[in-house]
C-alpha cells in the first residue's frame, strides 16, 4: 500500500473517444495482499419502465463528479480500512444498448469488505454524483430520467 494517489482511480470518460474498460478496472484494484475483488458494471438496457430504449446520453459536470467520486472513495476507505483499492469510471456522451455506463471495482484482503464497499460506492455514485441521463426511445422521443435531488445534501453531510 502506498500513498493516497495509488489506491483510487477515477474517470469520467468521453465514450466517443474510448469505452469504459472493466478488465483494466480489475487490474487496477488487484494487489498481492488482496484476496477479494467485487465489481459492478452498469450497462444500457433496451427497455425501461416498459418503453423500448435505443440509447442514452449522459450529461456530466465533470470536475464535481470527480470530486464526488473522490469523496465517496474516502468514505469507503474510512469505513473499510486503508487496505483497499477502488476504481470508479462513468461514461459521458451518447451510449448504445449494451454499452457500459459505469464501472465500480473494489479490491480488499477479504471478500466481505469488497462486496460491501463496492455496493456502497455504486449506490453513492448513483445518488450523489452530478450526472444526468437522457433516454432515447424507439419512437424518436427522449426524456431526462427522474433523479435524486441533491438539495439538503450539504446539510445531510455536515451532520452525518
Amino acid at each position: 500500500m502506498h500513498a493516497d494517489i495509488v489506491w483510487r482511480e477515477l474517470d469520467v470518460r468521453d465514450i466517443a473517444r474510448e469505452p469504459l474498460d472493466a478488465a483494466a478496472a480489475l487490474d487496477f484494484v488487484s494487489d498481492p495482499a488482496f484476496g477479494g475483488i467485487a465489481m459492478f458494471v452498469g450497462r444500457v438496457r433496451d427497455l425501461n419502465h416498459g418503453r423500448a430504449v435505443t440509447g442514452v446520453s449522459y450529461d456530466i459536470f465533470a470536475p464535481l463528479a470527480l470530486a464526488t467520486f473522490a469523496a465517496i472513495c474516502e468514505e469507503a476507505r474510512a469505513k473499510w480500512g486503508p487496505r483497499l483499492r477502488v476504481h470508479v469510471s462513468h461514461a459521458h456522451g451518447r451510449l448504445d444498448i449494451g454499452d457500459i455506463a459505469v464501472v465500480v471495482a473494489v479490491g480488499t484482503p477479504h471478500r466481505d469488505e469488497a462486496f460491501q464497499a463496492c455496493r456502497h460506492v455504486i449506490e453513492a455514485v448513483k445518488h450523489r454524483a452530478p450526472i444526468w441521463k437522457r433516454e432515447h426511445y424507439a419512437d424518436g422521443d427522449s426524456v431526462w430520467s427522474q433523479g435524486c435531488s441533491l438539495c439538503g445534501r450539504d446539510e445531510a453531510e455536515a451532520t452525518a
Binding site: 449522459y58 459536470f61 470536475p63 454524483a129 452530478p130 444526468w132 431526462w144 427522474q146 433523479g147 446539510e155
Partner: protein, 87 residues
C-alpha cells in the same frame, strides 16, 4: 456583480451554450442566485422554464454542493444541478 451559472440536464436544453450570466448583489448568497435564475428563466424561456425543477435543484461549485446561505462572491462560476440520475 456578474456570475456565470452552468446548466446541466434538463436546464441545458434551455440554452445550448450551457451557461447563463446573472447579475446579483455583491453580498449575494446561493439563495440569491437561485432567485435571480428563477426570474431570468421565466423572462428568457417562459413556459419552457420549470420552477418546480429549480425547487429541487442544488447549486454547486466545481468542488462541492453549496448551502443556500453560502456567499457566492469570489466563486465566479456556479452550476445548477437538477436531480441526478447517473449509473
Amino acid at each position: 456583480m456578474k456570475i456565470d451559472l452552468r446548466l446541466f440536464g434538463a436546464f441545458r436544453d434551455l440554452d445550448p451554450s450551457g451557461v447563463v450570466r446573472l447579475d446579483v448583489a455583491d453580498d449575494a448568497t446561493v439563495a440569491s442566485v437561485r432567485e435571480a435564475f428563477a426570474a431570468f428563466g421565466l423572462r428568457a424561456w417562459g413556459e419552457r422554464f420549470q420552477p418546480g425543477l429549480l425547487a429541487v435543484s442544488a447549486f454547486a461549485s466545481e468542488r462541492e454542493v453549496l448551502h443556500d446561505r453560502t456567499p457566492v462572491a469570489g466563486l465566479g462560476e456556479l452550476a445548477v444541478l437538477p436531480p441526478v440520475s447517473g449509473g
